[in-house]
Symmetry: C2
Subunit: 711 residues, 2 copies
């Protein structure tokens, strides 16, 4: 309610716009960002954006093509012929507390310009553009208010332009309607090309639409030193946005993910689009520290979030990826439908009662909250790549997985088992069974679920990132919240800050995670210093770090894969990655051999009172310190790409005058991601707020530091 | 089990087919039908069919084009290059008892030819064609057994040909992927043309694909006096079949309804198609009497069907169609979502507690089993034609519909309220809520549901008659059976005899029903003498006869519509239509004015021990007598098209020596469907098995007779 009051108090109607060419301008609270909005000669809505006098977005057009839902006939274009009927400026400066996150309180401070636009004549359609200008960026969205001339309509195309001021260095993945699991690439914008194999790994269920397109979050750096990030916020009831690169003009244009009929979105007035976001600064660390995307999302709908618990977990998972065990019970592709009587177990099934107990014991011994178990339910004999609608039922365990006994055992050890719902992308099937599945979970003591969407979406013709699926993911977030279940969605649409609204939605995958290291060409050494500037802009990722056995030939001498980081970097990821859901992904036996290093994973927090982004350069390095939620401990992570470097960590954020024991988990002198990667050294020293640590990072390396006050 | 034994006992392996050109022949048990199967020079599967020496199907080819599901790549065609690996003949002569129907026992008597076909080489795909030849027709299906070379596959096209022996007179509706609600047309096959407005009424949610296509059941009559009906049986996990007419050769070719991606069906071995059926006789009455389609369906899966009760009902329904009341509470298209507090009731809402009680009283007084109530639940303010996913929730009544009080009241009157679930074709939404909706029904005493699928299907791109929706309808039949709920599906795919397997699925609409008379150009006088030869071949229809107030201007002087039948024909429909679900569709006040005629509707049965199809000519006339289930009473219906005629009813089916009181509900002398349509006369006479009644039918008229033994 406070929010509304402030808005109303600041409401000022501007007498503008009888003159179409007139520019309306808006300044960020700190005046660094300047926005202008106007209509050009054709009556096209235009905007531009600058930062400290430098152009961020050159004059760029906004507009839509719509259709009538009833008969699919076109409506007059909203790309031109518009008039401005009103423009009002307001402002906001409030604070709010997230349920979890990188800080305990977030300031929501912006200047707002709301422009009402209309076509001419009796059949005129009206819509609004709302600009919110923060100190670190711009958000804008379109609203279609209730009006007599349109009620139900189809978005045929949203033509939102971002005309950039140069051929920036870009950190990007190929534009796609289904997969976000490509390697993040670094190139000039003009070099974007998803037909080039070096830019586009082979992903089974993906749908390219134009080789010159990228996904968001798109991170860029200009020649004149600006860091610019384009993404979206509050993606609800609308498809995700890709960006088509016009290389001749450095212009990006929105391409929304279509449905089976080629339509982009079905809307009904009053309707609003997601926010298009442009985060900008001359400091890379500001991009990482930005809360603008969260600020553009609605407040939490969960009144009592006390049941939502940031979680550190282990699981029956990596052992399947490395080939030690299997998801299936009776052999992959061995069965048209599971029949426990008719199929012979291979003996390699991972999710057995005994093996799960082993993980529960390990979790309990080392203080983990949960144990994820994949492959517990029937269906894995024939689940992948065949557009098969009825695979999993989410309630039928394999015969060697004793649900009741494991419920008893986990409870006795005060560990929670995390449910796994692989939908095989048969979402119609999952939606039919969600209630039954969640009731099953609650009955057997589960309060968190990892969902998966591997494959081509059913309903056939829909895409992972289209409106229908966007609505599905939100429906799952809402329904799990109804059941007080925490959610971790794998292969969903890329996140856009909705975890503010649905804080039970702890994390998503929606990017190339750790698992690719186990059976593909893997993730590049620069992977972890790009993702925080791209994928993580929208929210936490269940990235599953913590691999200690970096050479996978240990598990199987035929396996050639290695993880392209050092072990110390694996530790540092727990800090550079901000997520309330963190896995210690390796096997218990891997940790038991290196309990000294493992201590950092045991100690590190997953929820924070504060975060300090000390140094960063996208694609090169990141150094971050975070203060554990409700505690005086700090944790620090520094990581680098394939190049060795010395990170500098000014500990000025520590409480002045207080002494801390710093435990430093560093790369060994001869460590490198491609040689002796697992070599580390642990040292301790006493530090205070005046200390500046120099941390040597190996090629593909990192350093993790815990800072504990000395009593 | 008996069935299997007989089949095994009759199993005879034939040594055939080293010579590809060799013909395998099969005779029907009575030898009237002769089938031949062979491979032609190209290795294409061929068949032909004759009846008493007359060609029914000239040499016609069979085949498929398949794709791999995994990568959508084509598989070698099954249209040629085949060899026969085995051919076996078997036979069957058993009987079974339907849960309800036109007779109490059905004979299942056929000769069977099972042909195994294969491509050549290492990658050869195998499939089987199974022919079952009954005395009144042929059924054949394709089977894809488990085999190493295909497991998951896509039907790109089924190319089943029916090469007819002439340019037959046809009774047809346009080929379409979504609607079966066109007027049935009568023309030469060569005149089939859905672009001609006289052949294709305007239906909102329909999808033509070729002007030369028809749907099945397709009824035909040859110049040499053969009646030929082409349809399908046991349509499960496969799309419905349309028929493309090659007018130059009189050849029909199957066109399966595609999905959003243009694929026809997704199958996994072992797989089988529906049966393609060709019912044939030189007597039109044999077509009506055929049980071949039921015989080709699987036996009932419901072990204890005692809760399934053939039902005669009234309902809050016709009053909305004629404009006396509305489905909505607060005005059509008045709301984006229902908010009882924010919307003002119009006062025209039909499903009020008081009005429903009025129907309950009427039902109780006159011995009806049920009262259908439409418009009881929120959503009708904005439900139609807008591809809107979330409309109805199936559990939220309007504020003026008191669920609990009506449960109490109906129970006190021993009447069942019939639930209505209009899905607005948003099937994804319905599937999410089915369990909740059925639990709500059982909680409040409902044991029958009428579903509706008005509009374009969501998942968008799917069609009413495609594989996904076919699976949906069956899923609903199964799930309602789980809840012991009887089902009446409106706007589903045309039925194919599945009511044998799911006898709780009492009826479907899937054709142009009575409602079209209320607000369109209506149904033609010939409508009711075509439908039994077309739509009803697949199973019962909830046709909702019994309109007494035939001139609709009575209700609203601006209404110009009239029903294109006489009142006596409305009565006769209760016999010519065979359905375990029959509505007395008009309003109580209409019946209360004509209680003498209404007596026939009160008396007539809805389930039968026997049926005698006395005379029939498609498009012209039908005279049928049926014996009430478990009783000695017979009922007789005779109807005609726009031409007056005298029906001849030889009552030789009556028990010899027994006297019966015949109550004859006949058209008045001056009655006609277009003039004085409501004029009728009722007479009584004593008859016996030697009586031959001559029944005068007015233009568009009919005659209903009840035959009650004299004790």
């Amino acid at each position: 309610m406070l929010f509304k009051k402030v808005l109303l108090a600041a409401f000022v109607s501007l007498a503008v716009c009888s003159l179409q060419a007139q520019r309306t301008t808006l300044s960020s609270p700190d005046k660094n960002l300047q926005l202008a909005f106007w209509l050009n000669d054709k009556g096209t809505a235009m905007y531009e954006l600058s930062y400290k006098g430098k152009a961020v977005i050159l004059p760029s057009s906004l507009g839509f093509d719509l259709k009538k839902t009833y008969d699919d006939s076109p409506l007059p274009t909203l790309k031109e012929g518009l008039t401005v009927t009103s423009a009002t400026q307001t402002s906001n400066d409030t604070k709010w507390k997230p349920v979890w996150g990188d800080v305990k309180e977030i300031r929501d401070n912006y200047s707002q310009l709301s422009v009402s636009l209309s076509q001419k004549g009796d059949k005129a359609i009206q819509f609004n553009v709302i600009f919110k200008l923060f100190n670190d960026g711009l958000g804008f969205r379109f609203e279609f208010p209730e009006q007599k001339n349109i009620q139900h309509f189809i978005i045929k195309e949203e033509a939102t332009q971002f005309h950039l001021a140069g051929d920036h260095k870009a950190f990007w993945i190929p534009g796609d309607f289904d997969s976000n699991e490509f390697n993040p690439n670094t190139s000039k914008l003009s070099e974007v090309n998803s037909e080039d194999p070096k830019f586009a790994a082979n992903i089974y269920a993906h749908t390219f639409f134009d080789k010159n397109a990228t996904q968001t979050p798109l991170m860029m750096k200009s020649n004149d030193g600006l860091y610019i990030n384009i993404h979206e916020a509050a993606l609800v009831n609308y498809p995700a946005m890709n960006l088509l690169v016009d290389k001749s003009t450095n212009t990006l244009t929105s391409v929304l993910v279509p449905d089976a009929l080629g339509n982009r979105a079905y809307l009904q007035t009053p309707a609003k689009t997601p926010w298009r976001t442009i985060i900008v600064s001359d400091k890379a660390t500001d991009i990482l520290a930005s809360h603008t995307i969260l600020n553009l999302n609605d407040p939490s709908v969960i009144k009592d979030p006390s049941w939502i618990k940031p979680t550190k977990y282990v699981g029956v998972w990596w052992e399947m990826h490395i080939g030690k065990s299997t998801w299936d019970y009776a052999g992959s592709m061995n069965a048209t439908s599971f029949d426990a009587a008719g199929l012979k177990p291979t003996g390699k099934h991972g999710a057995t009662t005994a093996n799960v107990k082993r993980y529960i014991d390990f979790a309990a011994k080392h203080g983990f909250d949960g144990v994820l178990v994949e492959g517990w339910n029937t269906g894995w004999e024939d689940w992948f790549g065949q557009f098969k609608e009825n695979v999993f039922d989410f309630v039928t365990p394999y015969p060697d997985f004793d649900v009741k006994e494991l419920q008893r055992y986990a409870a006795s050890k005060k560990v929670k088992i995390i449910m796994h719902h692989e939908t095989s992308a048969s979402v119609s099937n999952y939606e039919r069974q969600m209630d039954t599945a969640y009731r099953f979970m609650k009955k057997f003591g589960y309060d968190a679920v990892k969902t998966g969407y591997v494959g081509h979406i059913i309903p056939r013709g829909e895409h992972h990132d289209g409106q229908w699926m966007v609505n599905h993911y939100v429906r799952v977030a809402k329904k799990t919240a109804d059941y007080k279940i925490m959610l971790d969605a794998h292969e969903p649409v890329r996140p856009t800050g909705l975890s503010r609204t649905y804080p039970n939605w702890l994390a998503c995958e929606a990017a190339r995670g750790m698992e690719f290291n186990a059976w593909s060409d893997g993730n590049r050494p620069e992977h972890d210093v790009i993702l925080p500037f791209t994928r993580f802009m929208g929210g936490p990722m269940d990235y599953t770090p913590g691999i200690f056995q970096l050479d996978l030939s240990y598990w199987d001498k035929n396996k050639k894969e290695t993880i392209h980081t050092t072990l110390a970097k694996q530790l540092a990821l727990y800090v550079t990655i901000c997520s309330p859901l963190q896995m210690a992904a390796d096997l218990p036996e891997s940790y038991e051999k290196k309990l000294d290093a493992f201590q950092f994973i045991k100690d590190v927090a997953v929820d924070w009172d504060d975060s300090k982004y000390l140094e960063a350069e996208p694609g090169d390095y990141i150094t971050v310190a975070r203060k554990a939620k409700g505690k005086e401990n700090w944790f620090l992570g520094a990581i680098t790409d394939e190049n060795a470097r010395t990170a500098t960590a000014d500990l000025g954020f520590l409480e002045p005058g207080k002494k801390y024991t710093a435990t430093i988990y560093a790369d060994a002198d001869d460590a490198s991601y491609d040689k002796n990667a697992a070599a580390y050294k642990i040292s301790k020293q006493v530090v205070d707020s005046k200390t500046v640590l120099s941390l040597k990072l190996a090629p593909g390396g990192g350093c993790a530091v815990s800072l504990v006050p000395i009593k």
